[in-house]
């Protein structure tokens, strides 16, 4: 068999260079895209229609910072304004999550394996990643820390604030770095008192992490969850073990 034609630049450039590459994209990447075409990508504006309770909690805990960085929603908080601020916080939170490389140590999908379901919660499904905040997808390939796609509401805002400021203060064996630049000092009326409070990036990253998986947390769509309403069919029995 004469194979000399396989050794010419036209064959290596054309068939293997373009041909095989395009075939691989068609087979391996176009497939998923076509299969998911009926699940439209949600925009941040659509997502932010359901403001998570933790975002209201941030307003209560850090009112000065919240008003300084996002705006004053009034009292009682104006829902339209809160939705607008929530969208802003989600966008910035994801930006911070990417800038700091969080996704290199935390994945964002639960595999269909018994131990992961017990530890994290329900297995991921394709539609929950079909949104603007998964552009590019933040699946991750490594878990130095736990998966975060079911993180919503597992821990309080205070826990997250303390943890971002100094992870070892709340999880002594953690190897997570400190993110002190998510915080600023605020003078308190007390004697020589300063308080460490989250700045805009801090509020945003807490909002983003508390949002991850909030769609699983709420039993009725859009209904804010109260502290007593955290019943979710035993999925979180092991959550403190994460």
């Amino acid at each position: 068999m004469n194979t000399r034609w396989l050794e010419k630049a036209s064959a290596t450039l054309g068939i293997s260079g373009f041909g095989f590459f395009i075939f691989s994209v068609a087979a391996m990447a176009l497939g998923p895209v076509v299969m998911l075409r009926k699940v439209p990508m949600q925009t941040v504006e659509q997502i932010s229609q359901n403001v998570i309770p933790d975002f209201y909690d941030l307003l209560v805990r850090y009112p000065d910072e919240f008003k300084k960085y996002f705006g004053d929603p009034g009292d009682p908080p104006d829902e339209a304004k809160m939705r607008q601020y929530f969208a802003e916080a989600l966008r910035l939170g994801r930006k911070v999550y990417i800038a700091e490389g969080c996704w290199h140590c935390h994945s964002q999908f639960v595999r269909p394996l018994a131990d992961e379901q017990l530890r994290f919660g329900p297995t991921s499904w394709a539609a929950e990643h079909q949104n603007e905040l998964q552009l590019p997808p933040l699946f991750g390939t490594r878990r130095v820390g736990p998966d975060l796609i079911r993180e919503a509401g597992v821990r309080s805002n205070d826990w997250h604030a303390a943890h971002f400021y100094n992870p070892q203060a709340v999880v002594p064996d953690s190897v997570m770095p400190r993110f002190t630049w998510f915080f600023e000092e605020r003078k308190t009326p007390y004697e020589n008192g300063v308080k460490i409070v989250p700045n805009k990036r801090g509020l945003a990253i807490i909002t983003y992490v508390q949002w991850l998986g909030s769609w699983v947390r709420s039993p009725a769509e859009g209904a804010p969850l109260t502290a007593s309403g955290a019943e979710d069919s035993g999925q979180r029995t092991l959550s403190m073990n994460r």
Partner: protein, 478 residues
């Protein structure tokens, strides 16, 4: 076909001759130096980041040196700084010799060289100031991406010109790999950096990103590495590659199956299962193809095993090939779904990545640096002992790192599987992580030895024969 490659490289064209020399030695030298400089940047990044794992990071609370950002500098500088510069050095040497034509333009080569280093500096700056992009191996900030694509294209135009001047004659194996890789790299870079960033979210985007992660290794780093092996191994051994037929099988097998592998980085994810199964099958197929290539190279060495002792470049090359066979065999095993259940998300994968990127391609690069440097500075290596130190420190370092992290990966996987508290995994991992940093230090030490040795060799007085020839020109410079 093989004759041109198998002849030992011709004597260097005298500099300053009226005719344009075949190989632009200055460019080759510059790319080697730049490659080593970025290699040190990457090594420093990896070393610093590794200390975070046992909480001895030297700059806690410094935003610009946040461990998460430094990690991305580590991986990106290894790929685009160390490996890409080294590959350009190798290709600038090999392509003119294989085709008989010099690169398109020496000026363009210079523009590419300096432009590329400036782009890399911007990439480092961009990542450290928080502008990274969330695509693995493509964290290069989005504003640098068009420049990277454009500059890569410039470099490729320069290198592809001599190949096209052969006017449709059959090419030597090396050039099959190079030409295909030129197309793949550009297409892949544009696909991976733009489609998941702007157009396709979630599972579809992850499928594209998976292709990109894998293609960067499989369609840029691997083929150019193999191309260089097909050039340097026969030329140093002074004998042709054992089987031309196996060369054909190896190239076309890799070209067909490698691009189909990508999704195996996201097994058990929400990407449709048929794609995942396809990727697993293609990965096993790649292992079969790789075996043919490995057999071909080891048969080329038959009866000449002694060169592994006498020739440092040959030893580096075959050490890399053993690592290559190991990683590929490992691939075929670890993509199996039951194995994935345990090892995915663990340090096993980190071990695998280091083995493939450094124990394979790093060894090959160090091998042809060892081969080329004396020719570029026109002086023999100063010390055999230092060459050995470089080899043993680096090789032991990377293999110990691989073994440590592989063992740790299994431990992590089983601890998670057993539903142990997360912190149990961290506590039990720290001794491994400490040792990992130590193995990294061995690699750094080996590289320092090499860099010093290269500098000391270049500073030596010229050997008599060469000195006579250049004496009239500028004896002071020697």
């Amino acid at each position: 076909m093989t004759d041109r490659a198998t002849t030992h490289p011709a004597p260097l064209a005298p500099s300053g001759a009226g005719e344009r020399p075949l190989v632009n030695l200055t460019l080759v030298k510059y790319h080697i130096i730049a490659s080593l400089v970025w290699f040190f940047v990457g090594l420093t990044g990896g070393f610093l980041f590794s200390m975070q794992f046992f909480r001895y990071y030297p700059f806690p609370g410094v935003e610009l040196l946040s461990p998460g950002r430094v990690r991305m500098v580590h991986t990106n500088m290894m790929a685009y700084g160390f490996i890409l510069n080294a590959y350009f050095a190798g290709m600038l040497w090999a392509i003119p010799r294989l085709t008989g034509f010099p690169i398109l333009s020496d000026k363009l080569g210079k523009v590419f060289f300096w432009g590329w280093q400036v782009i890399l500096a911007f990439v480092v700056g961009g990542i450290l100031t928080g502008h990274a992009q969330a695509v693995e191996w493509g964290e290069t900030p989005i504003f640098t991406d068009p420049f990277i694509a454009l500059w890569a294209l410039l470099g490729i135009v320069n290198l592809v010109a001599p190949i096209l001047k052969t006017r449709g004659r059959p090419l030597y194996v090396t050039l099959w790999y190079f030409t295909a890789s030129f197309v793949w790299t550009i297409l892949n870079y544009l696909m991976g950096n733009y489609i998941p960033q702007f157009f396709v979210p979630g599972a579809g985007g992850a499928a594209v990103a998976g292709l990109f992660i894998h293609d960067l290794v499989g369609l840029f780093v691997t083929p150019i590495g193999w191309g260089l092996m097909y050039y340097f191994v026969p030329s140093i051994l002074n004998r042709p590659i054992w089987s031309h037929a196996l060369s054909l099988v190896g190239f076309w097998g890799l070209a067909f199956f490698y691009p189909l592998n990508g999704v195996h980085h996201f097994l058990y994810s929400t990407i449709p299962m048929y794609v995942q199964y396809g990727a697993v099958t293609a990965t096993v197929a790649v292992e079969l193809v790789v075996t043919t290539v490995i057999v071909n190279f080891f048969m080329t060495l038959r009866g000449m095993g002694r060169t592994l002792v006498t020739s440092l470049p040959i030893r580096w090359f075959y050490t890399g090939m053993v690592a290559y066979f190991t990683t590929c065999l490992q691939c075929a095993v670890q993509v199996q779904l039951p194995v994935q259940q345990i090892i995915h998300f663990t340090d096993w994968v980190v071990a695998h990545a280091h083995l493939v990127m450094f124990a394979v391609f790093g060894s090959w690069i160090m091998g042809f640096f060892t081969e080329l440097w004396p020719r570029l500075v026109r002086r023999p290596w100063k010390s055999r002992a230092l060459l050995e130190w470089h080899y043993w420190l680096t090789t032991l370092g990377i293999w110990l790192m691989f073994l440590t992290l592989t063992a740790l990966g299994l431990q992590e996987g089983y601890l998670w599987r057993g539903l142990n508290p997360w912190e149990d995994m961290l506590r039990s991992a720290i001794p491994f992580w400490v040792f990992r940093t130590f193995t990294g230090l061995m690699i750094i030490a080996g590289t320092v030895v090499f860099a010093y040795h290269a500098w000391a060799t270049a500073r030596q007085p010229a050997p008599a024969a060469v000195a006579e020839r250049v004496e009239g020109a500028e004896p002071a410079a020697l």
